[in-house]
């Protein structure tokens, strides 16, 4: 036999028989959903990364305490990347007898590589610039106020005269809340020649690169093993904790959605293949009877499926790519700036996954056909072979698991989904098994038609359980997509409520507190929060001076060698959660501390340990009285260490203020910083906007996926119900022949399907709620998330109604055909 010819002939006729069309559609959908979502996500992500690159002034930075060896720039050069050098250090600016400590940035040629440095000169209008010319500097407004000069004046830095060429309006790193001094930007060569970066100065060097994503990635890979001690790579994502969290969440959302669509398609494929195999049984028996070998039979079946799959994958791919182009065309703002090129990876992966889904879910029932007895040509009941465990049935689970593991891109998401779906499958099976047992023994008192319907479920136990499982899983997937994901997204949005603080103010003196509060109120500022801030140094842990080498977490060095910020408060600040111990209540007899969990892990601390902190000339030894978990992306001022207020008040300190200012008050804010020359005002609108932007884009992209997934879900439903319709043909015809009314028939069918729908819906609702809670805590880190009850409850009802309707409609068709036609065919 030529299996290919045979497969092609069979396909030609059988395509229109239902199962194969379902299989085809399921594959098209799976590939389309994956291709569209993965490609869209990848492009949106690149766009977001690109726009966020503005925040560090390049695509990637390598920062170090000493200038990097020249091989780094050489490598960037080789890879065709643009690059520039930065050096940040504190220095004092003088004009006459006035002075101000500034955070100086020496900028190399081409800075910023990404984003804008905008300045305003004396004439007013702002313009985008690069590094200042030799001999000139740009400064923050605050410096002009402090020194009492305007643009064009001459200032002294490092003993040399510079011309003040502009007032900084915007710079790539705006939004760094704890920059302790206003910014001054000068030319890198100037800083070198003046000797500002000589030995003993506290310089932080940074090499910035920008260019093609692939080259940037290559550079990062090259640089990682070559980093000198104390150097680290900064990518856009870790420049800002807020943004990074947003990235991760957004990506998880998109992946979750695409993954569920693929799994739904997999279930549809499995059901359709099951039904296809069933219908093929007699054909296989005949072929065997005529002398076909097992190999030929399997080859023909596999080829038939493959012939179906390849065009399905191609169409799915085309459809998916088309869809994401349409989305991009209609929602131009999804991708700010230039549209990134079409990435090849995601579409190819979608294609491969489509094939994996097909073979993983369809092969087991098909391969089982090789064991069909040729004697079946004479006796149709011969397929009731003694059951033995067939490892083939592990294949769909393996493929599903691998799919989750690969596509989830996040171990917690993978584990949550994998475990969730496994538990649901097992629960359905167990519950269904028990219920059917009960039905079999206790259903005798029900009215006739209903009893018959339920008896059907019990009689076709294996099929009923399979259907209930498929329904429960697909309804769960739909509920997670349709109910859980949107509510998680809402929770996420809520974290960025409209009055989220968009300005921070540092250096406010305690005696200015009241007048500042009045001024802010007059401005219309809301959500004002003020916390004291003292700066100290960690000198001992449990009486021993810490050494950076003693801690595996290399971030520890930042605090051991650098400064750290302390605060205190009567009440636990918002976005903080007490994990261990008690909050301060004024009854402390010795200095006490509350420590963030990250610090606890980093320095191996526990309740009762002591930390010695040097603030000014004073050493304070405080005991750890509580441990807090801090939500660092809350757009609030948060602290690793908080002292008890009694001790804190005795320390020299300033106030950190966060508030939300309505749009259009920048002029008043300008006046404010002139009236309080000592304060630094930090505008975080840019970051806030970007995070909102990500939430928004992810939300919209997820909406598109939902459409795919609903289609896949409906397909599963149809496939599941078509399988029972087949089974039912004969008995309905028989009942009709025996004189049953159409009404009695419908009642029997409705009873069966409502029961099936209720069972599946109930399990799906509980399962989706569980998965939602696990996702909120483990993956999205959203606290106190509770799945919405009403949508889930209505899901149960909707599932029952939908399943009943679909089943009833399918059966109605059969009930209308004259019984003889069916009986004769059987």
């Amino acid at each position: 036999m030529k299996p290919l010819t045979f497969a092609a002939r069979s396909l030609r006729r059988e395509f229109f028989h239902g199962e194969l069309a379902t299989l085809f559609a399921a594959l098209v959908l799976a590939v389309a959903a994956l291709a569209a979502v993965a490609t869209l996500a990848s492009r949106v992500e690149r766009a977001i990364v690109a726009s966020a690159a503005e925040l560090i002034g390049g695509d990637l930075g390598v920062s170090s305490s000493r200038a990097l060896p020249p091989e780094f720039t050489a490598e960037a050069e080789t890879l065709g990347l643009r690059h520039t050098e930065l050096a940040d250090f504190p220095s004092v600016v003088f004009v006459g007898d006035k002075s101000r400590l500034c955070d100086v940035r020496a900028a190399g040629r081409g800075f910023p590589l990404r984003g804008v440095l905008a300045v305003r000169d004396a004439s007013g209008p702002e313009k985008n610039v690069h590094e200042p010319e030799a001999g000139s500097v740009y400064v923050d407004h605050e410096v002009l106020v402090a020194l009492g000069v305007g643009v064009g004046a001459s200032v002294q830095v490092g003993g040399r005269e510079f011309r003040l060429a502009g007032e900084i309006v915007r710079s790539p790193d705006s939004g760094n809340v704890f920059r302790l001094a206003p910014r001054l930007v000068m030319n890198y060569a100037d800083a070198e020649s003046v000797g500002l970066m000589g030995p003993g100065s506290r310089v932080r060097h940074r090499l910035l690169v920008a260019g093609e994503t692939a080259s940037v990635d290559a550079f990062a890979a090259w640089a990682k093993p070559k980093l000198p001690a104390g150097a680290e790579i900064t990518t856009v994502e870790d420049a800002q904790q807020n943004l990074r969290t947003a990235f991760e969440r957004g990506e998880s959302f998109l992946r979750l959605a695409a993954l569920l669509a693929a799994l739904l398609s997999g279930i549809a494929v499995a059901l359709a293949a099951q039904r296809f195999a069933k219908r093929k049984t007699e054909e296989v028996a005949l072929l065997k009877c005529l002398g076909a070998s097992r190999g030929e039979i399997i080859a023909a079946l596999t080829l038939e499926i493959a012939l179906l799959a390849l065009p399905a994958c191609v169409i799915g791919l085309a459809l998916g790519l088309g869809m994401q182009e349409v989305v991009i065309a209609f929602a131009r703002d999804l991708l700010p700036g230039a549209t990134p090129p079409l990435p090849l990876g995601p579409p190819l992966a979608a294609f491969a996954i489509g094939l994996a889904v097909l073979f993983g879910f369809a092969l087991p029932p098909l391969l089982r056909l090789r064991d069909v007895e040729p004697m079946r040509v004479f006796r149709q009941d011969l397929d009731a072979r003694p059951r033995r465990f067939d490892a083939l049935y592990l294949l769909p689970f393996a493929v599903g698991g691998a799919l989750i593991a690969i596509e989830a891109g996040n171990a917690r998401l993978a584990v949550t989904l994998g475990a969730g779906f496994l538990i649901i499958a097992l629960a359905t099976w167990l519950l269904g098994f028990v219920l059917l047992r009960i039905l079999r023994s206790g259903g005798k008192r029900l009215p006739g038609a209903l009893r018959f319907g339920l008896a059907n479920l019990a009689r076709r136990r294996a099929l009923s359980l399979l259907q209930a499982g498929a329904l429960a899983l697909s309804l769960t997937a739909l509920a997670v997509l349709g109910v859980i994901a949107p509510s998680l997204l809402d929770r996420w949005r809520l974290e960025l409520a409209p009055d989220t603080p968009n300005y921070f103010m540092i250096n406010l003196q305690p005696e200015q507190r009241d007048s500042m509060q009045q001024r802010l109120a007059a401005l219309g500022a809301t959500n004002v929060g003020m916390l004291p801030l003292a700066v100290g140094k960690l000198v001992a842990i449990n009486g021993v001076a810490p050494k950076a080498d003693d801690f595996e977490d290399k971030r520890a060095a930042n605090w051991i060698n650098g400064e750290m910020r302390l605060s205190w408060s009567d009440t636990l600040p918002p976005a903080n959660k007490l994990k261990l111990g008690r909050w301060f209540d004024g009854s402390e007899t010795e200095p006490s501390l509350s420590v963030d969990t990250m610090w606890v892990d980093m320095f191996h601390l526990k309740l009762g340990d002591t930390l010695t902190l040097r603030v000014g000339e004073r050493d304070i030894t405080a005991r750890v009285a509580s441990i807090r978990g801090v939500n660092w992306d809350s757009f609030r001022v948060n602290f690793f260490l908080m002292l008890d207020p009694k001790t804190g008040e005795t320390l020299p300190h300033s106030l950190v203020t966060s508030f939300h200012a309505p749009a259009g008050v920048s002029a008043q804010l300008g006046t404010l910083s002139r009236d309080f020359p000592n304060i630094s005002l930090v505008d975080v609108n840019a970051i806030l906007d970007r995070v909102r932007d990500i939430v928004d884009r992810v939300g919209r992209a997820a909406g598109w996926v939902l459409a795919f997934s609903v289609a896949a879900g409906v397909l599963v439903l149809l496939a599941a119900l078509a399988a029972t319709a087949d089974e039912r043909r004969f008995e309905i015809a028989l009942l009709r022949t025996l004189g049953a009314h159409a009404r009695q028939l419908s009642l029997a069918v409705l009873g069966e399907f409502v029961a099936l729908g209720l069972l599946a819906g109930l399990i799906a609702a509980i399962g989706a709620a569980g998965i939602g809670i696990a996702l909120a805590q483990g993956v999205f880190k959203l606290e106190n998330y509770w799945p919405p009850a009403w949508p889930l409850l209505s899901l149960i009802a909707a599932a029952a109604a939908l399943v009943a309707f679909a089943g009833w409609a399918g059966t109605l068709r059969i009930a209308r055909t004259p019984p003889m036609a069916i009986l004769r065919k059987a």
């Binding site: 059988e14 007895e373 004479f378």
Partner: protein, 245 residues
């Protein structure tokens, strides 16, 4: 009469394990069919005729006893080897036709040739269809053909590759009398033309009578009384067969 045996069964028994314990379907059946001969197996429904046919054709293994087909002891062959043997030597006609619904008449007839790997399958299939009078219907699908026409396609398929032995299980069982007569005439005519050995299961006495010999199964055993004078059909059946022929 040719004397070389092409099919023989020795003390063949078949038991299956059912819910009420072991059930004996066939019990010590022996028979011998010479090349080119025709044998009818008759008996009441449930007497084990189909089971015996399946064992003779190598579709299943006997619980005890052995079957030899074209000189090959079937029990020594595995499922795959038996399939190869069938593809070469055996043709089938079934009560419910068993045409593949996805293939048209011609493709159905081509099936045994394609399994053999024959290169001129299409033209030979067309000839075979012409022989059963269905040349014009060769592109029709089974559902577009009547029962009699389907069975004629099945006959064409059974003979197309010139099998040594043809097994027919109630070939007219699903057909009305007239159509059944047409089909059985065709069956015997083809059988004669090809010189095929025929094993025919039926409970139609007239049909059985057209075979050279017949044997009767009763509860899985050969009815010794009826089989007396081996090679001779029962007088009544013979008479009925002649009446029809």
């Amino acid at each position: 009469m040719p004397s070389e045996s092409v099919l023989s069964a020795t003390e063949v028994s078949k038991t299956v394990d059912g819910p009420d314990g072991r059930l004996t379907i066939l019990d010590g059946v022996s028979l011998d069919v010479a090349r080119g001969a025709s044998l009818a197996i008759v008996g009441a429904s449930g007497s084990g005729k189909t089971t015996l046919l399946g064992l003779l054709a190598g579709l299943d293994r006997p619980s005890t006893g052995s079957v030899t087909l074209a000189g090959q002891l079937l029990d020594t062959l595995d499922e795959e080897a038996r399939a190869r043997l069938r593809r070469r030597l055996v043709g089938f006609v079934f009560q419910s036709f068993h045409l593949l619904p996805a293939l048209n008449a011609e493709e159905n007839v081509m099936l045994p040739l394609e399994l053999e790997g024959s290169s001129d399958a299409a033209s030979r299939a067309r000839d075979a269809l012409a022989r059963v009078g269905l040349d014009a219907r060769r592109h029709h699908y089974p559902h577009q053909l009547s029962g009699g026409e389907q069975q004629r396609v099945a006959l064409a398929r059974a003979f197309v590759h010139g099998p040594e032995v043809l097994f027919a299980d109630e070939p007219t069982g699903n057909l009305d009398q007239r159509t059944g007569a047409v089909v059985s005439d065709l069956l015997f005519a083809l059988n004669r033309e090809h010189g095929t050995t025929l094993v025919l299961v039926t409970h139609d006495v007239a049909l059985a009578g057209r075979c050279e010999r017949s044997l009767r199964l009763v509860d899985g055993r050969i009815d010794r009384l009826a089989a007396e004078g081996r090679g001779q059909a029962l007088p009544a059946e013979r008479a009925a067969g002649e009446g029809r022929a």
